[in-house]
């Protein structure tokens, strides 16, 4: 990877340069929290934001997206073009970039590449930014506290300046034109090492580090813990809505009032919603919260791992704040921690 250093004051110039050619999405303050939104000026950016309430996925998987339009009278697909603006996501934290990498695996790299996702992804540049963990962050447990790929630039804060990892030509050219990137000195490198270390030591130590959680979930599949945890689920699906790696969706058709024209669209869906696994005839494979919450945790901490060799959860902590019923992966880790200490006692 190529590294250069820029001064902290240069970042606005970098954002402005991107704004010349792209729509720029960045973290901004809204009320008491932060959200990703399209910005009009670099001043709006909250560079030291903690975690945004909702994730970035809406820019790659819109909450509602038309897939095709049709003529319902003769059952034909009609002309339809989706215009995707070239976009820069500025200021994504490592966990969110790792989340995009997981979406890429499902929607772009698999056996059936999704043309809608892929088109958006290809029109998107990602500029990452280093961060410090909040009390709810546990990305380090899943090796998601560092983005190894999936970005065009990554800005590591090393105190008054940034060490910039440069990954794409497109972004390198803009960096070059907007700033004065210089070669890193020994001091820069040493400060980088220090910054990384400080971050690694700042994670909430009360969140148990259970590396074999996937295996434990198999072993404790029938434990009554899941009754307790899932029993309190309100089926609001807030967890899935804010999660950067929840990608389930529904496909639906909608007709014009006269019934002649229509569109097929997809909308976000969630495995925590009661009808998600219901089939014709009314049989529901996951009829209550216990099965649904267990399934969600399973996919996050076990199932995806089996298929892709990495956790689907990136430990961003969003569901920790979003869930009114206190259901989140940390509770699962704590349960296994308790099981371990029962034994010690």
């Amino acid at each position: 990877m190529l590294y250069r250093v820029i001064d902290a004051e240069e970042r606005d110039a970098l954002v402005s340069a991107f704004m010349q050619e792209y729509e720029v999405v960045a973290p901004v303050k809204r009320g008491r929290g932060y959200v990703f939104d399209v910005i009009e000026s670099p001043d709006e950016i909250a560079y030291d934001y903690s975690t945004t309430t909702a994730s970035l996925k809406k820019y790659l998987l819109p909450p509602r997206e038309t897939l095709m339009t049709f003529n319902a009278v003769d059952n034909c697909i009609t002309e339809h073009a989706e215009c995707i603006p070239p976009r820069v996501i500025f200021g994504a934290h490592a966990c969110d970039i790792n989340a995009i990498n997981r979406l890429d695996q499902v929607f772009r790299d698999g056996r059936y590449p999704d043309p809608y996702y892929t088109a958006r992804r290809e029109a998107t540049l990602v500029v990452g930014m280093s961060c410090m963990p909040t009390d709810d962050c546990f990305c380090h447990l899943w090796d998601a506290d560092e983005a190894r790929f999936g970005y065009d630039l990554f800005l590591h804060d090393i105190g008054g300046r940034y060490l910039v990892s440069i990954s794409s030509v497109e972004a390198a050219n803009i960096l070059e034109a907007a700033c004065n990137p210089r070669v890193a000195t020994d001091e820069d490198r040493s400060d980088f090492r220090q910054a990384t270390r400080t971050r690694q030591l700042s994670f909430n130590q009360n969140i148990p580090d259970i590396q074999d959680v996937a295996m434990l979930m198999d072993a404790f599949h029938k434990d009554e813990f899941w009754d307790e945890l899932g029993g309190r689920c309100l089926s609001c699906s807030a967890c899935a809505a804010v999660c950067p790696t929840c990608f389930c969706f529904d496909l639906q058709d909608r007709l014009s009032p006269d019934g002649t024209q229509g569109e097929r669209y997809r909308v976000w869906d969630a495995c925590t919603s009661p009808q998600f696994a219901e089939v014709a005839g009314g049989h529901n494979f996951r009829p209550d919260g216990r099965e649904r919450v267990r399934h969600r945790m399973y996919h996050k901490l076990n199932g995806f791992l089996a298929n892709y060799d990495r956790m689907l959860c990136v430990g961003c902590g969003r569901c920790v704040s979003a869930c009114k019923a206190d259901i989140n992966p940390i509770r699962v880790l704590e349960f296994f921690e308790e099981k371990g200490s029962e034994h010690d006692a």
């Binding site: 897939l67 095709m68 339009t69 049709f70 003529n71 319902a72 003769d74 059952n75 034909c76 697909i77 009609t78 002309e79 339809h80 073009a81 989706e82 215009c83 995707i84 070239p86 499902v106 698999g110 056996r111 059936y112 590449p113 999704d114 043309p115 809608y116 088109a119 290809e122 029109a123 198999d218 599949h221 389930c248 969706f249 529904d250 496909l251 639906q252 058709d253 007709l255 019934g259 229509g262 997809r266 869906d269 495995c271 998600f276 696994a277 089939v279 014709a280 005839g281 049989h283 494979f285 996951r286 099965e291 399934h295 399973y298 996919h299 076990n302 199932g303 995806f304 089996a306 298929n307």
Partner: protein
Amino acid sequence: MMLREPARVVEVNPLGNMTTPLTGEELMANNPYRPWPARITSITDLTPTEKLFEFRLIDERIREAFRHEPGQFVELSLFGVGEAPISISSSPSKRGFIELCVRRAGRFTEALHAMQCGDIVGIRGPFGRGFPFERMKHHDILLVAGGLGIAPLRSLINNIHDERSEFGKVTIIYGSRSPSEVMFRDQFEMWRHRKDFDLYLTVDHPDDTWDGEVGLVTKPFEHLELDARHTYGAVCGPPVMYRFVIDEMRKKGIEYDHIYCSFERHMKCGMGKCGHCQIGHQYVCIDGPVFNYWEAKNIQGSM
């Protein structure tokens, strides 16, 4: 109906690399959500609630490219109503036509049942992993269907019949609730008569005319004799059936990984994305719908 120019689906501005309208196989590869127009060429009433539909894909290139394995399914599309996953019920050897056996179960299937010959629907697929037809060759076969489970198994049964000499003894056990719900009976009876297959038809509720067995699909196992070490089992039916039938097959000594089951789950995309069909870490739409019992045992929540 004339086949329109394939629609332009995604356009990226201004990179330009996706603006060209995608056509033919390229589009098939590039937009797996796009249903292809197919004409209904025949409709047969099977029972009061089930019909057999025969479709022909209109675009010749797509029709030629369409090949399936027994056990695979398509996403059938009625614009304005939606899509539903339906097992292909015809043999892969029946090229150019696709048969689907559909039960009237709700909004989508009602709308389909109301359609006429000549009407146009959309089809995308085939999707999923079917039965291991090649591996099953040179073995005895025991097929157990319950109700609508006969739909996917019929593709396998017909395919076996096409290549009958490649297989040993073939036994079909097919259970229905009542005699009026037995599908494809004439065809099966004919094959039984010709000694192509051993056939056991069972019903829960017989009427005066019924001369087959009465009871659950597991009943014929009582007097079934098979060479378990050289037998493949295949099961498809309502969710409650699997456990019992598989238990019987295991009791007879059929190996775990020689028992194949086709699963039904809620499905939307058919290609491992929407998440609806997931059981444990598996996606029924791409990892299945056909799993062997050993695989199924290793998926949390499969049965």
